[in-house]
Point group: D2
Chain length 359, copies 4
């Protein structure tokens, strides 16, 4: 064996990589922001050029995300310090309500690039949904029609020229992917969903339901049959299915795991169900199918996948879904959307690339 000490840093191949795309993350001090930063630091075609945070402006990224210390020298900046004309895309990881105001500011300031908003603020076409489900009037209803709902497995490829995209909610992603293949074959049926989420879904702000002594070893349902991701899912699967959704807090940090129960019409077999899911997701790189079993949460956590599995017995179908709420439920789905909007390989920066040479 010869030691290849002459090897150097790989240089970008001519042309393509001479201008990596320039990305900024707005409101990047939360958990989703941290994942977006991590993913963009190793993205092969993108450069993270700025991250904003009012609280941490002027401080290194690792003050909010100590894990990143030693991995980047970037510091947080104020939003006003961005040079918008130099950005190809911005990802907004704000809380609900803040997303819309941030988009407004960007557009008012003449920003021309892509916007991927990870808040709930542009997920609905109908402004009336906001007071009903979120308790506030939408600050920018005139923008709702300009946003695309970014569930790639259902809506991609996006129309050429799409600039504004609303990234789906975490529960909504799992639920919509689990239900989408069922909407026609099980039309008019009731699907009964119980789904549990980890504490990182609640954000970085401490509250009673994420207080360790209250969460540890505990299981707690909330917003039973009234969760705000319900209309989001209903918007995807249309009026075909009646969805009863029980969201639940579980004693872990990352990941969503749920079951869907539905009665099958006579004559439907496991094979039929498998065909429905294969037809819907056979080519989708971020949906993994587990026929005849329900997926385990652990295998989806820290990955960009949504795992789907199903079991049929007599006339009953159970579908299971599992995903990382911060990744396929937020950050990696945003990167997947970014890749799609930029014309990059959908998996860039999210999955290993086959080695260039592998005889």
């Amino acid at each position: 064996m010869e030691v290849v000490s002459q090897l150097l840093q790989p240089e970008p191949s001519e042309g393509l990589m001479s201008t990596p795309l320039r990305i900024a993350i707005l409101h990047g001090a939360g958990y989703v922001g941290g994942e977006l930063i991590r993913l963009l630091l190793t993205h092969p075609y993108c450069t993270l050029t700025a991250v904003t945070s009012r609280t941490f402006a002027g401080q290194p990224l690792w003050r909010a995300h100590p894990t990143l210390r030693g991995q980047t020298d970037l510091t947080f900046v104020e939003e006003a310090a961005l040079t918008l004309s130099e950005l190809d895309a911005v990802l907004i990881a704000a809380e609900h309500g803040q997303g819309a105001r941030t988009v407004q500011r960007l557009l008012e300031n003449g920003y021309q690039g892509l916007i991927i908003d990870l808040s709930a603020d542009f997920r609905f076409r109908d402004a009336a949904r906001y007071p009903e489900w979120f308790g506030f009037d939408h600050p920018a209803p005139e923008l709702l029609g300009r946003f695309v709902y970014g569930l790639p497995e259902v809506y991609a490829p996006y129309a050429p020229g799409t600039r504004l995209l609303a990234n789906p909610g975490c529960f909504a992603t799992g639920l919509a992917l689990a239900l989408w293949p069922l909407r026609h074959p099980l039309r008019e049926r009731t699907v009964a969903v119980t789904a549990l989420t980890g504490a990182s879904g609640s954000g970085t702000r401490p509250k009673a339901t994420t207080h360790f002594p209250e969460r540890d070893g505990n299981v707690r349902a909330y917003k039973v049959l009234t969760h705000q991701h319900l209309p989001e899912v209903q918007q995807v699967v249309g009026p075909y299915l009646h969805i009863a959704f029980v969201p639940v807090s579980g004693p872990w940090t990352r990941g969503i795991w749920g079951t869907v129960h539905v009665t099958l019409p006579a004559g439907i077999t496991t094979r039929d169900v498998s065909e429905w899911y294969e037809a819907a997701y056979g080519e989708a790189p971020f949906v993994r199918l587990w026929p005849d079993q329900l997926p385990e949460l652990r295998y989806a956590v820290h990955t960009p996948f949504c795992d789907l599995g199903w079991v049929v017995r007599h006339h009953h179908l159970v579908v299971g879904f599992a995903l990382d709420n911060l990744l396929k439920g937020a950050a990696s789905q945003a990167i997947q959307n970014l890749n799609l909007l930029l014309g990059l390989p959908q998996t860039a920066g999210l999955l290993p690339t086959p080695a260039a040479v592998d005889a």
Copy 2:
């Protein structure tokens, strides 16, 4: 204030307490055995006189249950060392299959007292269930008809003279209590159950599914739609409900938490559902009702209660149940049954007694 230094140990009142009942625990080195010991050590009418274990015979109880060190001087004995004629009751905390053989030995040796078996071995009247659901032929089918199924909220008071009682399974207890009030009003409907259990339900023997790195932060379904507690529940609620049951492993040690979904007939309101549950359990000391909400797991753990709650929206009913798998799902329910069979107050040793004098 006068310091009451003259106070002594309370002496038993005349007559009643001069002969506390003598209880033995068989196969008492597991988790359920530990809880039975703990409960009997403070039971006001019972004395724990012996605990058997082949593995630990000759060693103090605290070798298997270090928590108990300093709380009792008992040592484990071999089953053969018991003086059966001196025992008022035995509680058998054996694994499935071992329970039946232990009962056989006791009866063959002329034991005349009560037997409460916590294994699955006498929960079914029909011996055919054992090969189908447990994978072995029942070793003592002739005894099946002599056992009473001990779900007190449904079957108590037990017939006078009842000596042999099969304590229900942990999942079965929660599920049967949740479904029992629905069996008539929702006759012929499908109830869709997803229920999660902690790792102590798997017993003390390490295995892959309880290996910490595999269980921590994980959720995993198993025996989907085919769990052995299903026929047990079906035996309770009869043919009226079609039960689809997904049992799930959760990342905690103690407690079962589940949801039941069912479509309601037109016109049924929350008030109706509340009446069904009130009628069934209004007087039951170990069932706590939480109308218009689902119970939290944490509040049931380390208690002898099964918590039941429900939410109705449109035509959909969700019922939630929560219990400690080692207590209401095993040990405290066995003590409750013991109390009932002995004619003691049902809550003796399980709930605080109102103070004797409280002006």
Copy 3:
């Protein structure tokens, strides 16, 4: 076997139990308050007559402590609603600073019974300690001299007539019990302590360090070498040992576990160390000794014990300690002190009583 259906509730034996002692818990809505309530509800000589809480006044105890639902019908009251003359003892489970003001109010209102204060406010004889270690001037320095420091294994029996007692801190209890037997043999040596505590030690108020995503799977030191329990321990073991103390947050809810390292003088063996601990605690019902090993946390949790163990190798001694921060570190130690001050058996309500009759 004859079913003893004629058995009734045990009646108190004549004289002694005709007047159970009347106890109130002040500021009883926190975690320690919950444990005090639970312990007093089954105390054989005491009746819990009132629990105060400003937040929960007028609501049943189970609003703050849902686990207690079905176990007591008491409701929280305002402190002003107490009839002080009817109380034999009050236990104060207030936050630091509030304890002193509560004691002041009680004494000003002519309260004549026992007071056990679980806050830090009366643990030091020297008022100067408060600004230095707690950041505030003591509100009632004149009372400091009247309080006894209630570490029973060191200071009991208390002087006859003792009415005011300061219950030790949780870390301080474990550390003081571990160090007390070493103070003379290892005089002038440095003892190096690293001790970890669960999240319930931080109280019920959510904060960043108890936010589930931050605590789960994490270990974090705080107040390194400067924790406020340090002077408390130093006050017990005197000037004999130099204590270096690193307190640490661990990812669990209940329990303190720590190690003490110290270099031994030549010639000291395990046997010597065992003798020191046996001499100090051989008769103490709530200290369990584990020679030649360090105790496991799990066995102390949910018990009123402090476990101590030790290992000697060459010239090095490691002592381990484990206790439940809410019990021996707070509530059960308060009951132990209550028993001692009232002249009751020290273990009443905390350990199983040997059965009255056990032939």
Copy 4:
């Protein structure tokens, strides 16, 4: 903004990347194997060409590592199926004892490339250590002298031509890095270490100490003052320090966190200590220094870093260390060593590369 839909996969730049290095992982079905696979799948200069496992031969990698499903199409092979002449390096993730036999086989079969052994089998120069500390005679003592001990921050750069490297143990890595800068300034002193590790350190095989109900919420010391990593650390820091080491199991899956206590000579300040650590690790990309505080475990987990921090008060120094036992304690350190032996940038595949173009 112009959508760059013409972007293609990056092609390797001429010459350098046309022949990625070919790497195999032996015994790759365990936790460390899973991390090695994950890291090599995205390594910019290396191609993972084979992973062996007797148990899983013929099955896809994701059977042992379900997380990897959808990320690689490799299947496990038998060791005998390897074409050794085509491999540039092998990484051995075997259990102790198996590592040596695997190395023997490779060398007997004429393998000429690099070997990085992650077992304990070649960490000591002195064969006598094996019966003493591991309980077995070394199967290949003649090879001990040919291996380099691969703690890069202490021993790199390795001698040109180094082919055989023993990767350090997980506890040993943290402890040696924490102690190395102290060995001269604190010569002859005793350092008292208490360090806790997660359950993944015990490997994939279930056992009593990793049984979830026993590990959850528990802390347990083991091999107190006698752990087999102790001589490994002593070999690094030489005879200068006396190490007392208490290894502890903690209730989490990944990560090691520990404290070192040592008495300082008069006159030593925080600044002095900081200078010692800066001098030792100022340039080390995988050691992060946290002066005046102890590191938090959480920030090191899922990273290739070892975090070191320290606090001085009076004459006492506490040093804290934190690392991911599967990464800097095993897999990422192996890749770091691989990079060093291959003449690659030390951080290749482990840290984000600065973007090629970032105006």
